[in-house]
């Protein structure tokens, strides 16, 4: 799943559209101009050289970036990605989105993001480890459990987070598990993290169906993308009585009118990584047909920009829940709204991941670890509350759920900024 975001990693206008989004919502909620001025610019940006001795003895100097967009509500939170197309603008935009995502689910974080310009597919494990440890050493003064807490992102995983935790801990002289989330369980990772994003989407979907008066029992669901997020979502929504009638990934799609056998499909995908070759009852379905399928809920859970101006007119779902980041282009969004399709936006729908990251950090700080049930219960509380707050705000503003989510998030950050005032 880590390659998911690659497509847009090289796109050039991400910061422009992040700023545009902010300005739109500022107009909508009549944001205080001081607050808008502050939020347009990241609080702190650090660019570092990351000299790394490669296996062939040569020294390669990579460029690493960490952006802390806002810390008014708490320490920064956000992933670190390794990719050739990482740019300062991209990292800044992603940090800003993390500010909104943390605020919309009301966890006490600001937004951060980091990246190293490198091609990890072309590097050995030892080179990756050396680069990671040097990058962390350069960040040591600006990260920390009370300052800025990284997490996995594109091309980084729990192993990289283990190195980060170890490097930081060695410099501090004692173990500091709370400096990073997405760690291995053996180092203080949280139970329930693996399925957290999928589970969060389920809670939001359940509440959205309730709001729209659609019974979840028998609801027809189509899932585009059957990776960690889409797969977990499908399993859990089925447990609530919904029927997953279609699923697809890069290898193709499958459809069954009275519901696919999700347990068998998950087992197959876990084994072979792809839907292709699944030995069950189904009809093949193309990705385009899946997006146009008549169903109650459509969950794009893979790539960015899958719903576009070209195909948005064909969507026949009653509701879209954005499992992936940015699956709907702005033009598609307008078309879907005009057609009256209810859409639950990414910053709300897929915030289950960062929420369980928050729980991992809490557990690290309080040195007391929760059972998986407790983690899931708390996740439910957070997601359900956030959904209804966004729904309510979108009603009072007479706007859609995406604007509603941005309004809740930006207003929440603004309230913190105004309460704190400007120092000195």
């Amino acid at each position: 799943m880590t390659e998911v975001a690659d497509d847009t990693s090289c796109s050039t206008n991400v910061l422009d559209s992040a700023l545009e989004q902010l300005e739109d919502v500022a107009a909508l909620v009549d944001l205080h101009p001081d607050v808008l001025a502050k939020l347009r610019v990241p609080k702190r940006t650090l660019t570092v050289a990351v000299p790394t001795r490669m296996d062939d003895g040569r020294l390669e100097v990579f460029t690493g970036i960490r952006v802390q967009h806002n810390m008014d509500r708490g320490p920064c939170k956000g992933g670190i990605r390794y990719h050739p197309c990482v740019t300062l603008d991209e990292v800044t935009a992603l940090a800003m989105w993390m500010t909104w995502k943390c605020a919309v689910v009301d966890i006490p974080y600001g937004g951060g993001k980091g990246g190293v310009i490198c091609d990890p597919t072309d590097m050995s494990v030892s080179e990756l480890e050396k680069m990671t440890r040097r990058f962390v050493s350069e960040l040591v003064e600006i990260i920390g459990p009370d300052q800025d807490i990284p997490a996995p992102d594109v091309n980084t995983d729990e192993r990289v987070m283990g190195w980060l935790m170890d490097t930081y801990s060695m410099q501090k002289g004692h173990s500091v598990p709370a400096v990073v989330t997405g760690k291995p369980i053996a180092l203080g990772g949280s139970l329930g993290r693996a399925k957290a994003t999928g589970r969060g989407i389920v809670f939001v979907t359940r509440e959205a169906l309730k709001t729209r008066g659609i019974p979840i029992e028998g609801a027809r669901v189509a899932v585009q993308g059957f990776g960690k997020v889409g797969g977990a979502f499908a399993e859990l929504i089925e447990e609530l009585g919904a029927r997953v009638v279609a699923a697809s990934d890069v290898s193709g799609g499958i459809y069954k009118a009275d519901g696919l056998d999700i347990a068998a499909l998950s087992e197959h995908v876990q084994r072979t990584r792809l839907i292709e070759g699944f030995d069950g009852e189904y009809e093949p379905i193309s990705n385009e047909d899946l997006l146009a399928l008549e169903c109650d809920v459509l969950v794009p859970a893979a790539l960015e920009n899958v719903l576009t101006a070209e195909n948005a007119g064909d969507v026949s779902a009653r509701m879209i829940v954005e499992g992936a980041n940015g699956p709907t282009t702005p033009e598609a969004n307008r078309i879907l709204l005009d057609r009256g399709i209810y859409l639950v936006p990414d910053i709300l729908a897929n915030a289950g991941g960062v929420t369980v990251s928050y729980f991992e950090w809490c557990q690290g700080i309080q040195k007391l670890f929760w059972s998986e049930d407790e983690v899931n219960r708390r996740l439910e509380d957070v997601m359900v509350r956030a959904y209804h707050q966004v729904h309510q705000r979108s009603e009072t503003l007479d706007t859609d759920m995406r604007n509603g989510a941005m309004a809740v998030a930006v207003e929440r950050v603004a309230e913190a900024i105004l309460a704190r005032g400007i120092h000195p």
Partner: protein, 421 residues
């Protein structure tokens, strides 16, 4: 653990390493990790100049060993004893690593000691010694680094001095730097019976696994100190019948059962189990040969040895004490089909309770007694069942299984972290 219980220091470290080697073979530990675990991460030796009551200055030697910190800060007691050596302290810190990992609390292993004879020292001298020792350790200990606790000849009063000295140097109260503190300073209300309670959870789970009927089981407690008394009282509540008890003065036996409340009262009143009206007096050595289902050695090291192991008729032995069974005795017991529930499992309730004390201090939220004991039960039940499953999977003794679980867990953390730089 008792002060009298000291084996040759050199051999303690040797046997700690042998135990590790055995577990390493059992779980195919990578050689690099194995070599690393044979040595402590960090050992500090300090001189402790202390003003004595007669105005003279004596310099004692103190040690603190941090064996491993991959899973969290180091945890382990500080002992005061004339026979403390650096090797012994290192070996004990290694055992703490395994014990903490076994019950899956987020700690590495540590241990400390001062070479001194507290029996000949005044309170004032002990306090001077403690405060200076803590001052020397100051850069090395701390709530995030290394959290001491009571051990041989140290108690809650010594822990209070430690907490005070550390807090004065930091400039604010820092109760989480040490556990086993007085309740008034953030200590845990449930600490007293914790080791015995953990031991009883261990026994209960194993009885369930072995289909032993509690009502038809009889048990014997050797050693009637803190752990032995709590274990007797709590195990009897679950159904088994206490039939014999010993302490340092003697032993008593009644095959029809000993009234637990009455013997506890008698012990509290007279300081000994001897002279208890409801039972016959027997010799301390005879206690091992009594026909029973459960034997709880809760006193000194090496109580069960080559010469008495063959007499034991119990089905399970739950080691409430540290190291009550010698390796030679254990071989005899294993052959005879007696299941030994090893010390690092059966008496881990104490350190689990220490962990809860620290967690409460760190989160600045104090739990009720019931909450603490529920959590203790969860920790112990999970650990016992993990060890039992490992024992079945590897077809090995419970002690080997416990070491396999513990060492494997630390190795996993060490591997994830890798080596800095």
């Amino acid at each position: 653990m008792s002060a009298e219980a000291h084996v040759q220091a050199r051999s303690v470290l040797d046997s700690a390493r042998e135990q590790l080697d055995r577990a390493a073979t059992l779980i195919n530990l990578p050689p690099g990790i194995h070599e690393r675990f044979r040595e402590p991460k960090r050992v500090l030796t300090v001189g402790i100049p202390t003003t004595m009551d007669d105005g003279s200055i004596r310099t004692f030697t103190g040690y603190r060993s941090q064996h491993n910190m991959d899973r969290g800060p180091a945890k382990g007691g500080i002992r005061y004893h004339p026979q403390v050596t650096i090797e012994e302290v290192i070996a004990l810190s290694m055992w703490m690593t395994w014990k903490c990992a076994l019950v899956d609390i987020p700690y590495g292993g540590g241990k400390g000691g001062v070479v001194c004879d507290p029996g000949t020292m005044s309170d004032r001298e002990l306090e001077n010694l403690t405060r200076r020792f803590v001052s020397e350790l100051i850069g090395m200990i701390g709530p995030e680094r290394d959290i001491p606790a009571p051990d041989v000849n140290t108690n809650e009063r010594v822990m209070a001095w430690l907490m005070d000295t550390y807090s004065m140097q930091k400039g604010y109260p820092q109760p989480a730097v040490v556990t086993g503190k007085p309740v008034a300073l953030g200590g845990s209300t449930e600490r007293g019976p914790a080791t015995g309670r953990g031991c009883v959870f261990t026994i209960r789970e194993i009885m369930r696994r072995l289909d032993m009927a509690p009502d038809q089981s009889r048990f014997v407690v050797q050693g009637f100190g803190n752990a032995g008394r709590a274990a007797a009282h709590l195990l009897a509540e679950l159904g088994p019948t206490l039939i014999a008890v010993s302490d340092s003065s003697g032993a008593i036996f009644n095959e029809r059962g000993v009234d637990v409340q009455a013997i506890l009262a008698h012990k509290a009143e007279t300081g000994s189990v001897v002279g208890f009206p409801g039972a016959d007096e027997i010799s301390q050595e005879d206690i091992f040969g009594i026909d029973c289902e459960i034997l709880i050695p809760a006193a000194l090291e090496d109580a069960i040895h080559e010469d008495n192991a063959g007499e034991i008729k119990a089905r399970i032995i739950a080691e409430a004490a540290n190291g009550p069974t010698t390796p030679a005795a254990e071989e005899i017991l294993n052959e005879g089909g007696v299941m030994v529930l090893p010390d690092i499992l059966a008496n881990a309730g104490g350190v689990a309770m220490s962990y809860f004390e620290w967690a409460q201090d760190v989160q600045k939220l104090i739990w009720t007694g019931d909450q603490i004991n529920e959590r203790l039960e969860r920790v112990m039940v999970r650990a016992v069942n993990e060890v039992y499953e490992m024992h079945q999977r590897l077809d090995c003794s419970m002690r080997d299984a416990a070491m396999a679980v513990a060492v494997g867990r630390v190795a996993e953390a060490a591997q994830w972290r890798g080596i800095t730089p």
